[in-house]
Structure formats: C-alpha cells, structure tokens
Point group: C2
Chain length 187, copies 2
DNA sequence: CTAGTTGTGTACTGATAGGTACAATGCGTT
DNA sequence: AACGCATTGTACCTATCAGTACACAACTAG
C-alpha cells in the first residue's frame, strides 16, 4: 500500500547539500529548493540538522575542509614536496571539475555569509597557504619568497574559478592551472 | 507640519544599491534590507526601477561596466600601453578599495545569479581581457603570450579579492597586485 | 499661484521563507 | 512477530518576501 521511500543517513545528505549551496549560494539555497532538488523532505533535513540551514552549511564546510586536509594539506606537509605540489594541482583540477564546480569557501567569503563562517573560511585558506609555503621551503625555496608564492597559487585557483565561470570556459581553467603550476616551481 | 524628506533621482540611487548588492549578494539583498540601509522607500525604488530587484541589479551592473569601460578598457585601447597598464593596477586598487570592496560581476558569476546576467558578466571580463591583451601586444609582447598573460592578470585580481576577504587581510591584496603588476611587464 | 510632473510613505496583496509538531513508516534486534 | 529507534511526509506556524496601489508632497514651469 505504501509508496517506496528512500532512507538516508546524514553522511549521504551532506554531498547533496554541498552541490546545492555551490550552485545557489547560502541565501539562494532555500529549504524548498533543497527538498525539490534532492527529494529529501523537511522532516529528514531537520532530523539530521536540527540547527537548520546554518547547520547544513556548516556540515558541508566541515566536509570540504576534511577533504582538503586529507588530500591536499596533509600531503603537502608530509610527502615529497615536488610530488605533493604536483598532486595539489591535479587534485584541484579534479575537485573543481576543471572549473565546472566552484569553491564554496571562496564563494561564502565574498558576501555577508562570511560573517557566519568567518573562522572556518579563514582557517581553510590559511592552512592551505601554510602547507604550500612549507612544501616550497622544503623544496629549497627561500622562506622570504615562499609565502607570497603560495598565496599567489591559492589566489590563482580562486580567480580561475571566477573567470572560467564568468566566461563559461573550462579550457581557460585548465590553461590557467597549468601556467600557475609551471610558474610555481620555476620562478 | 511635514517632516523633511530627501528627494532622490535614479542616478543617486544606483551607487547605494551597488554597495548593498556587493555586501549581500543578489539573493541576500532583500527589498526591506535595501530600504533599511539606504532609507529609500519602496515607493521610490519601484518608481525608479519598475522591473524590481532584477532591474536594480542590472542598473548597477551597467554602471560598473561604464566605469571600467571609461577608466580601464578605453585607456588600454587608446593610450600608451605601459602607462595604461600601470593606471589599470592603480585604478583596480582604488576601485576595489584595496580588497575592502568586492567585484560584483565576479560575485554574480559564482552562483545562479550568473544565469540572469550571463551576457553582461561575460562581456565585462571579455572586454577587459581583450583590451589588456591588445595593450600587451602594442607594447611588444608576442600575441601568442599576450592573451594568457591578460587572462592571468584579470583572474589574479578576482582571486586576490576572494582571498583578501577570506583572510580579512587588505595587505595581501596590495601585495598580490604589486607582484602581478611586476610579473605582467617582465615575464 | 496654480498645473503638471516627479518623487515618496503607507498600507496592502499573495506567495514563500525558515522552522515546528507529530503521527506514521521502515529497519535491526530479539 | 513485536519491540524500539531512526527516519520521513504532512500539516501547520509566523515572519518576511517581492510587488502593487494610491494618495500625498515637493519641485518646476507657466
């Protein structure tokens, strides 16, 4: 008699929410659009995230952070610097789908959503820059240059995401990343 | 008997709207927040912009476009390339208040707001890149490199805005712009 | 000092926002 | 099969959303 219904758990929901926040932004991601796009009802959403939309976004940011910590920052600190840096560019291209997917943390930084998640946003970029600068130093780069070079690489990825989306041109994203990768190790 | 009230005209309103859209994004800029922050009532807003919020945002984008056309793109096409490029960096720093103000066009590009203003957004960046690449060629740079170098500069400004806001660090913005300015003319 | 035009405040609309309450459903255990 | 708990759909709440209507105020021209 009853229609089939899918049973989720929290871990399944977070990646779905991530895509929605990415596409619509925090303010644009309304509860009704979330239920509409995911097929998950309010009942489930508030069961998993009693804190509502803010807790949903926080959970998404936490998962993004975990991913980068595991696949980017930690390798930069631990592994052979040249290899880890090469992996960083490869992972960034894959994660952001060659510009087809934006950086949620960067997007949140631009509008007033920043106030809600200021420390999370700050940490995400700070740890990225620190890890990359450390790897550059270990690879023999003078510490005086390393920080600026690291900032430049991280900022370049964010800019490439903005520009490739603005021009709707994924090729630009790949081209920009290649160029930045070369510049990071040579100059 | 009557309290004093300010009389506006459309041209006065657009810059006020611009700041609000910058700070709150398109979705976050609700009519009530607009009236609250500007002191301009709905009556006036719908008098100037019968098309509502969308027309307000379009007017803001048009004004931004006009500003860049006049003070950045046109000089890049017309004036001595080295001087125009130097002026571009100076104007970008001033316009974006050393990272204290974001690029509305870039911000709109990131979320679904892009769909509403796709061609405007595309044009803004396309004309910037074209004008800069042209200036680079006129300054003696091989055409094969000029386009990529121009893309890199424009993308770098967008990235610097994201990162300086994320880290709440205006010094980073200035530092990044200085470095990019040097790299653009030397490499 | 009127007449017409350009602005403005206030009060309203229907739709949708985020959030709550809760009964019913499905699943793992025994 | 019956218990208990995690999960879910539905109905509902109040606040706020974008937008409309319109009478009124201010400036501008004659």
């Amino acid at each position: 008699m009853s229609a089939l219904r899918t049973l989720y758990e929290r871990a399944d929901v977070v990646p779905l929410l991530a895509e929605i926040f990415r596409e619509l932004g925090f303010e644009g991601a309304t509860l009704s659009r979330i239920t509409e796009r995911t097929g998950i009802g309010k009942g489930s959403l508030y069961h998993f995230f009693p804190g509502g939309k803010e807790e949903m976004a926080a959970a998404v940011l936490a998962e993004v952070d975990t991913w980068f910590e595991q696949f980017v920052y930690e390798p930069l600190r631990r592994d052979d610097p040249a290899e880890a840096i090469a992996a960083m560019w490869k992972n960034a291209d894959a994660y952001f789908r060659s510009g087809g997917r934006i950086c949620l943390v960067g997007a949140f930084a631009l509008d007033e959503t920043r106030e809600r998640f200021a420390t999370t946003i700050n940490d995400y970029f700070q740890r990225w820059i620190d890890a990359l600068a450390g790897a550059l130093v270990r690879s023999g780069r003078p510490a005086s240059e390393a920080r600026a070079a690291a900032e430049n690489a991280v900022l370049g990825i964010q800019g490439a995401l903005v520009l490739s989306r603005a021009l709707d041109d994924k090729a630009l994203f790949k081209r920009a990343l290649d160029q930045m990768a070369k510049r990071l190790i040579t100059s």
